[in-house]
Symmetry: D2
Subunit: 305 residues, 4 copies
């Protein structure tokens, strides 16, 4: 059985200036991460534009991912959408192309309520043999997945794991403990690149750091130190990475996804990996001045000359 | 030029027990509303499942709408999605089938920010000749569209109108005043079926009441009284309709969309218009006990024996 | 028994430039409102700084209110605080000075929960013979008082009325209907000065408009038209008043209370009623440029030359 | 100069069944914590009812604290209130009784806005020579204190430290880094008892764990391990304490403060330290069944037989 464990970056998407998919840049970034030793990749997450790509773009991204990964590490694919049937259509597409696991949020926009969320995950699971991860991201779907529900779905074999982007470290700690006590049915991954060390201290199974698109080697070194019980290295690497994360504070012309993923794409452009820092509509790409501010941080971090 | 004015119900969708689209029930409900004198219909709104239907279902609903309306009143079609390109795909489909106007929310899930929202509406407008309505529904997209932005887009010819489901009547009143002062570029419709009378008092161009699926004649009578300046009838009709709206408080097994649209579908079933009160996954339909509670209110209102 | 009905403005506080209480300006404003025909006054509300005055200032304000009102209209006094015992201390002070009713919010900062809120109002009621109003102001206390709870407390004789500043006109309409059906145990007052006409259409017992500090005569005329069933005058007066309310949009150097009450105080200064537009710490008073913007609106409204 | 560093529990208040202050129980709890080796105490925090005690109770609590602490450790006193002048009155009282530092939140209920918050802290600082801590608790005051503002106030000598109860560990990590870079002007304390280990990994100066009222020795052992660089002990102690924290999940009859502080008081009663688990109005104390559930967890943790 596939193991989802270690550093599994959410892959950001490369686009040409005209908005078309830039497979070459995308694959260059992916290959660099695998070469750096990441333990899996997560395509079509929130950072990977999975919640707002068109069906055609979704197909392009999955095919390009599959091609370059070529079995070297497992692929998680986001199947994020407002409603169950729509999610299952994405699952079928992902199955056809061939991925190793899928990741779904709670339904959003209108179809909330805990019984509905539980039913949502159960129906998705019933429609596929792929391992299913719950994506806990209240900032986007406006509901926090309660640990008790996650554990129930884990113990019932519905969920294989959780990607936690809730920002609620107290809840995540309780979940880690509950999971241990229940025999570890869930693979628990943190999405908070700035405090991965704390999640490891609590026993997390891995991390899904957007910043690993920029510095995969750092997160791999941190993981290795965690495996070796070398906490001083874990925290020092974290401090270095958290400093690097300041690139997301450079943008002043946009906020949220535009600033965060915009900064990652811009850093990848500065590093010569992406051709452009183009963003999906209606988000504008970062300005040349913002590009310069991000490059300055990369230089300070020793990632470029 | 098409006028969007008067009572324009957001049409709820009929489904068979197996979840397939029930065109016959759907068209029966639509025809009943048009016979009752409504001035337009709004397909694929939030109540009309527009934000969470699959592409195939979207096509079925639009075709069935077009067929039964048959030019008798204008059709507004929701083109609600997370991101601009996805919305434009829905616009192209709606154009191909033939509708009279389109309705888009702000982007949601992640791509927020006022400059992004403005760009979103401008890009949609650039992609179509259909009149474009902004759908202001913060409870679903988690941002309130500021009157100043709406007026700017109205005066620039980008927006033809606004469907206000913001719950912010103070903001709506200011918008009504601003619009009047600017020469009335926008058609301003309220989505709050319980206080339509207050919106009319402020000068609204119409209403989009979900409850009109159940009692279209009441909202038409209220509109006619408004046009005649007969405020006593406007408020009395409102009090009657607000009492009827209590059907959405009957459900105890679900909340939000499940309770509200669930109650409307259940009322339509009780009235013999819908075959089933089936809901889209992962929402369960209302229970027999809840059906009975809703029927009791309909009887009290004189809508059924 | 005292009747709380009609226009009952929440009185804003006058302060000298050095921050001390300006009894003369305060009483001038109050007397002007009573002369204009208001039906009561509400001291120490949110606009009246009741939630953040010191105990000494609270005493000064209540005494000055009592003195100038001199029995001409009933006085409501805010007894707003985080916790029950603190509220009851304010009630005792208000009783000692002599007021006609008291107004309490739900507890705030930490002690939430519906059973706690119910107990809070019951305990306050048990401690006094004064009529008790519930102040529904979720923007400040971060909980909406449910109509069902308000009706229960009204029917039990705990509450004499509700000051609704919830911004939720749908809920208020349901409350108006429930209250009517129950024999009208509650006096229901709207706090939304921009849509008072809609509240009257729904049958409200009165209004508590902050803007009535600036233009009491307008709200009195509107009330009289309501009593006469002259809805055209009600809505026209509302449109005029809502235009005047634009003074709260002038401030750019502050927001919220600072902008709203800051604009009212500044208007009163421009009208020669208040000596200063001084605000309580840590809020800065509006700037001279903002004062000029507000004066321009007052001139346009014909309130000053 | 007094150092605020290490484990500084927020002291919960003891009350007799009739609601009067139980100085004996309160002092017993405090003395037990000091004997266990805590490095300071924080009276009148949120857990210590500082935001909702009456002025007389505030005096009683401070005097009892001063008396039993008797100079053994520094005392921090909460001066939490809605507005600056009210806070300064509390500061004067705390100065008169004799404390070593004061802790203030941002203003709440209505007087928000970042410039106002900055002015609030500056005015408090100007009124006292006591070291001033900012209490970052958005769940209560509904605003998050931005790291940039905290650093500015720290570098200007206005703030001596921060008690972080924001739940935003990403922001806290950035603050820790900024503070280090600026020469460590601020003492940075975490208030999240469940993930103290992560905060220590990031370099926090200490913790303010409510649970330390129940198990002070555990938090002291954890601190000592942190000082020794023994991370395995730090995390193991944390796992044990986080398990113990499950006592706050026992209550089903109340939520929030009532459940959290209610559970702490109930545990202290079970341990024979508090006479009663009485709560401040309008909060009910936990039920006998809930008491039993909490005792079961204490037994499992080996804290009682």
């Amino acid at each position: 059985m596939t193991e989802f464990r270690g550093v599994i970056p959410p892959v950001v998407v490369a686009e040409h200036e005209d908005g078309t998919f830039d497979a070459e840049s995308y694959q260059r970034g992916l290959d660099r991460m695998i070469q750096a030793g990441v333990h899996g990749v997560f395509a079509l997450g929130s950072s990977g534009e999975g919640a707002f790509v068109t069906p055609a773009r979704r197909e392009e991204i999955l095919r390009a991912t599959k091609e370059v990964v070529a079995g070297r590490v497992p692929i998680l694919a986001g199947v994020i959408d407002t409603q169950t049937d729509r999610v299952i259509e994405h699952v079928k597409q992902a199955e056809a192309i061939g991925v190793d696991g899928i990741v779904s949020t709670a339904p959003f926009y209108a179809l909330g309520g805990l019984p509905q969320i539980e039913r949502h995950f159960r129906q998705i699971h019933a429609a596929t043999e792929l391992p299913l991860f719950a994506y806990d991201i209240p900032v986007c779907v406006h509901v926090k997945l309660p640990p008790a529900l996650l554990m129930k779905l884990g113990e019932d074999g519905v969920l294989a794991g959780v990607k936690d982007s809730s920002g609620d470290d107290v809840s995540f700690r309780f979940l880690l403990q509950d999971n241990e006590r229940a025999g570890h049915p869930l693979s628990l991954l943190t999405g908070h690149e700035v405090v991965v060390d704390g999640a490891y201290l609590g026993g997390a199974d891995g991390s899904v750091p957007g910043l690993a698109n920029v510095d995969p080697a750092g997160y791999v070194r941190q993981w290795n130190a965690y495996m070796a019980g070398d906490w001083e290295t874990v925290r020092k690497e974290q401090d270095r990475l958290s400093d690097l994360m300041r690139i997301v504070m450079v943008p002043t012309t946009t906020t949220g996804f535009g600033a965060g993923v915009g900064a990652f794409k811009t850093a990848l452009k500065a590093l010569g990996i992406f051709e452009s820092n183009q963003m999906p509509e209606p988000v504008s790409k970062l300005t040349p001045a913002e590009e310069e501010g991000i490059a300055a941080i990369l230089r300070q971090a020793g990632l470029m000359d």
